[in-house]
């Protein structure tokens, strides 16, 4: 693939080894001009190390980082046209909101009046009141601090903005609000955002594309839709959230067999190359309560163990021997039966996929 | 992080408070009850040494505490401040018992019958009734004598010969050529005497305004010209190292530690002439040890005074830790014979008689407070110069 092709950042075999441990292992990746790309992975997957290499705070052990066709491996952070929003936000606690936002402008020697004007513009963009300009950063709320950190990074006018899980310390509601705001800001500024998080849910909300990282490698890259509906491994599928994963073997007939389920099951079309053994993935929203076994491609009899209200939805836990199935219904479609009742549940093969254990 | 900003500040505050508290002196002393087996001595160093005290402690099965100080006024004011009920014995220089402490009721007389016989064995010049041991009217015995010595200035005889030093006298400190070549022992009461003598008048009397002005001027000149002011160890170190050639306020008391180490070129000098009575230029001190006017005086106090008269103990006192000094008990051959040649060299026995003859005895300076204040101001004003 040519270096152009809309790619602003190109990674080739990027590797970082810490004391013999391959924290980042031969990553190849293209990030496109203006996209919001999210790297998602559990802690220890190497995503922070990867981001720090991109920002210039770690030196790669091998491989190349190419920004607009120029290799930038050896350019220190302060001379890279990129900027990062830290997990801790790393606001300067001794400076006011205004001085924080203007920091990069001050470094460049921009006159005070001009700096202030730019800071106020950014504050308005981020819905921070003007009078916050002189306020200590320690005296504003978590969400406001978040906006200051973003404004500070935007004031730098970077080619790429990196985000190191900046929302992870916030409460759920605020996080949800800011996720959307961040996506709005992305639209507004048309900058390239590279975001890392351990929450695929967060990645789904904001991203144009997502890369799922595990043990230093990118195991799947795709749009949120692709990652959700077509995970290419048990790891990715489980990462998306509550999901039913059934260890299955492929019968010569092409049907699937799971140890605790008496019936043979109809296999989906998407087998991800699985020939003999793999995992059947059924999302909770595709599991249904059945009136009769024939109402779906596959069925199983279990016992309704518990139910959980999730706002607009209700989640049910159904036990089949040792197996636990999770179903979700919209609230107005709530199941009428009581707990400990025997229930028949089932799903259609078209709504499932089989993934390898990777 | 275990240390965050907030608790760092708290810890620092605690730390600072601890420092401040550390500089506050502990001033509380418990009252005494039964005094038969305890004895408290306020003294110059030497009497507080284990060599002197341990045999007495063992023999009397007593608890003996001794606190040493290095100037007389401090000790006397401890008694004035109400510590007469703490101390049993006070060991200071000659004039204080007769002229100050007895008239002020700080000490009480000794039993003459017990102590008069000891004077028979003392060196010539210290015979009964020795003036500084007696009350003004001559009726009471106020204390016992032991250590003494001439105390004027000390030279390194490799730089200035004994003869030159003795003949030049105190003018050594008046000679501009000697600026930066001498030191001053930080013994400010004696320095007051010396500045008077250098200025050309007797310290031990009231002074005229002209003399006081001359004193102030001389103090500035002498302190301004000094290479350093310091303690005995520093003086000897500086003499030996060649930093200075001579220092004032010094004699056997201060030079003896260096001489005992083999530096016989460090020598106390008694000038041949001076502005004091009889044209004398030297000043000598004689310690007088008295029993404190303690309402519950320990019966061990007179016993201790008898104990130190013993020839062997007297020799120990002469060579107790710190400085080495002649003792009046050397008049007794049983005591004198205990001194080795090196010990006699250390205390300048060869010239002791003639030096004492060239000295007047330490006395009260009537306007000491005024002169000391002027001298302190003079030191301050020549600071850094």
């Amino acid at each position: 693939m040519a270096a152009g092709d809309g790619a602003i950042l190109l990674l080739k075999g990027l590797t970082k080894i810490f004391a013999g441990h391959r924290a980042v292992d031969a990553i190849d990746l293209q990030i496109r001009e203006g996209e919001m790309f999210t790297i998602v992975g559990p802690s220890g997957s190497g995503k922070t190390t990867l981001l720090r290499m991109l920002a210039g705070m770690e030196t790669p052990t091998s491989g190349d980082i190419i920004l607009r066709g120029q290799r930038i491996n050896d350019i220190p952070a302060n001379r890279r046209p990129t900027c990062m929003v830290f997990q801790s936000l790393a606001l300067f606690p001794h400076k006011d909101v205004g001085d924080n936002i203007e920091f990069s402008l001050k470094i460049r020697g921009v006159p005070k009046a001009e700096r202030k004007q730019r800071a106020l513009e950014l504050m308005r963009l981020l819905r921070l009141p003007d009078h916050y300009y002189d306020r200590a950063v320690t005296r504003i709320s978590g969400g406001e601090r978040q906006r200051v950190a973003l404004a500070r990074a935007l004031a730098f006018d970077p080619e790429i903005l990196f985000f190191d899980e900046p929302l992870s310390a916030l409460d759920y509601k605020l996080r949800k609000t800011l996720e959307k705001e961040l996506k709005d800001i992305h639209r507004e500024t048309k900058k390239t955002f590279v975001y890392i998080t351990h929450s695929l849910e967060e990645a789904m909300v904001m991203s144009d594309r997502i890369g799922v990282m595990r043990d230093g490698r990118l195991v799947q890259i795709g749009t949120p839709q692709e990652i959700y509906t077509e995970p290419n491994s048990k790891f990715v599928s489980e990462f998306v959230g509550d999901v039913n994963v059934l260890s299955v073997s492929v019968l010569p007939s092409g049907k699937l067999k799971a140890a605790q389920i008496p019936h043979e099951m109809v296999a989906p079309a998407t087998m991800n190359g699985v020939k003999s053994a793999g995992f059947l993935v059924v999302r909770p929203e595709f599991l249904r309560f059945l009136d009769a076994p024939g109402d779906a491609d596959n069925h199983v009899v279990g016992r309704l163990y518990n139910e959980y209200a999730l706002g607009s939805r209700i989640q049910y836990q159904v036990r089949v021997g040792e197996l636990v199935f999770v179903l979700e219904k919209l609230r107005h479609e709530a199941f009428a039966g009581g707990l400990d009742q025997e229930v028949l549940i089932g799903w259609d093969a078209v709504n499932t996929i089989v993934v390898p254990d990777r | 992080m275990a240390i965050n900003r907030r608790n760092f500040m708290q810890q620092s505050a605690v730390w600072a408070a601890a420092f401040a508290a550390g500089t506050v002196p502990g001033v509380f002393r418990s009252a005494m009850a039964a005094r038969e087996n305890e004895l408290n001595i306020l003294c110059w160093e030497g009497y507080n040494s284990a060599q002197v005290l341990d045999p007495f402690r063992t023999a009397q099965n007593a608890t003996v505490k001794a606190e040493s100080l290095t100037n007389d006024p401090t000790m006397i004011n401890r008694l004035r401040a109400g510590e007469t009920n703490v101390w049993d014995l006070i060991n200071v220089n000659n004039p204080w018992a007769r002229k100050v402490m007895y008239p002020e009721g700080l000490i009480k007389p000794l039993d003459k019958a017990t102590f008069e016989p000891f004077f028979a064995n003392m060196l010539p010049g210290f015979e009964w009734p020795y003036r500084w041991c007696m009350s003004d009217d001559g009726s009471e015995l106020l204390g016992m004598i032991q250590r003494f010595g001439p105390y004027s200035y000390v030279v390194n005889t490799d730089k200035i010969s004994r003869e030159t030093a003795e003949d030049t006298g105190w003018d050594l400190f008046n000679d501009p050529a000697n600026k930066g070549k001498y030191g001053i022992l930080e013994s400010d009461d004696w320095n007051v005497f010396n500045i008077c003598v250098i200025a050309g008048f007797d310290p031990f009397r009231e002074h005229t305004d002209d003399e006081v002005a001359k004193f102030s001027e001389t103090a500035k000149k002498v302190f301004g010209g000094a290479k350093l002011v310091g303690d005995i160890a520093t003086m000897n170190q500086a003499l030996i190292a060649g930093e200075i050639d001579f220092h004032m306020t010094g004699g056997t008391y201060s030079a003896s530690p260096a001489r005992a180490d083999g530096y016989l070129n460090i020598r106390g000098i008694t000038p041949k002439k001076g502005p004091m009575a009889g044209g004398k230029g030297g000043i000598a001190w004689i310690e007088v040890t008295s029993t404190v006017n303690n309402p519950e005086l320990s019966p061990l106090a007179p016993k201790f005074l008898e104990y130190v008269q013993d020839p062997e103990v007297a020799h120990t006192v002469a060579f107790a830790e710190g400085t080495f000094n002649p003792v009046t008990q050397m008049g007794n051959s049983k005591c004198f014979d205990l001194f080795t040649k090196d010990e006699l060299d250390a205390i300048q026995w060869d010239s002791l008689n003639e030096e004492m003859a060239g000295c007047v005895e330490y006395d009260i300076v009537p306007d000491y407070d005024k002169l000391l204040d002027l001298m302190t101001a003079a030191k301050r004003e020549v600071s850094g110069g």
Partner: protein, 296 residues
């Protein structure tokens, strides 16, 4: 008789227990501080108003000691004390900042060793260490003697000069600057430094804009600590300075010893405490610690 009344009676019987537990627990410490800290301080203040050269609290209170001081040349000693203390603090900043920075950021596993090198001398008494310097610097001593015998160079001794006093104070008070400063520097969040660099700041700009201001609490504590200690210094002036400079502490010592003028000494002490206290207050106001700590 109701239970409520009984309860109240019982409560009255153990009145002390109604005092907050925290206060009760702190009482021994409070008493200790009152006796050990406040009482001597009050004694000094009280003495400063007694007639000159008296030794008790029975005299008629008077301001004569303060008048004496203001009419004297004591200001010279005071200026020397403050001046050399200030110089000591400035030199200590210049020496300690790089060392502290190294301890936190550069020396890595050698830091412990370097720290020990600075701590171990604290176990030896200050006077002994100063006499060590005396023997090192004295004519024909370790330094000049070696220069003379090995290289044939005859150098003037630097002992008994203002420089020697400064050397002694810098040496003795170094740990009191170094360790608060080390703590201060170690508390600068790594993120803040990286963020500054990421925003385009050069190493110097990172230092100036972020590290220095954020390590300011340690620096201010170090400065105050060493300044207060250095104003109270006396041994350095005596041992290495040969009393060529008379600090205010020496005047106080003379008043309490040779002059036996306790009230004057007390008045000098009170004035010194006041002046140092005011200077510290001004410094604290000027370098608003809360601001640096982001607690404004």
């Amino acid at each position: 008789m109701t239970a409520r009344t009984e309860g109240a009676t019982a409560g009255g019987g153990v009145g002390f227990l109604r005092v907050p537990a925290g206060f009760r627990a702190a009482l021994p410490v409070i008493l200790f501080l009152l006796v050990g800290f406040a009482a001597p301080l009050l004694a000094v203040i009280g003495f400063s108003f007694m007639p000159a050269r008296t030794f008790g609290f029975t005299g008629q209170p008077t301001l004569e000691n303060y008048i004496t001081i203001f009419e004297s040349t004591s200001y010279i000693s005071l200026l020397w004390s403050l001046g050399l203390a200030l110089a000591t603090v400035l030199i200590l900043i210049l020496i300690s900042y790089p060392v502290a920075y190294g301890l936190v950021r550069v020396f890595g596993r050698w830091s412990t060793l370097v720290t020990l090198l600075f701590v171990i001398p604290l176990f030896v008494s200050e006077n002994v260490r100063l006499y060590g310097w005396l023997l090192f610097l004295i004519k024909n001593g370790v330094l000049l003697g070696t220069l003379k015998t090995v290289f044939g160079i005859e150098a003037e001794s630097m002992l008994f000069t203002t420089g020697a006093i400064l050397l002694g104070m810098v040496y003795v008070y170094l740990p009191y600057m170094l360790f608060p400063l080390t703590l201060g520097i170690s508390m600068v969040p790594n993120d803040a430094r990286e963020a500054a660099s990421d925003l385009g700041a050069s190493r110097w700009q990172v230092f100036k804009e972020v590290e220095l201001p954020l390590s300011m609490p340690g620096l201010v504590i170090g400065c105050l600590l060493t300044f207060v200690l250095a104003v109270g210094a006396i041994a350095e002036y005596k041992v290495l300075g040969g009393q060529q400079v008379i600090p205010i502490t020496h005047d106080i010592e003379i008043a309490f010893t040779y002059a036996q003028n306790w009230p004057l000494g007390a008045a000098l002490s009170v004035l010194l405490m006041l002046i140092v206290g005011v200077l510290v207050m001004i410094a604290l106001r000027r370098f608003d610690l809360d601001k640096f700590l982001g607690r404004r």
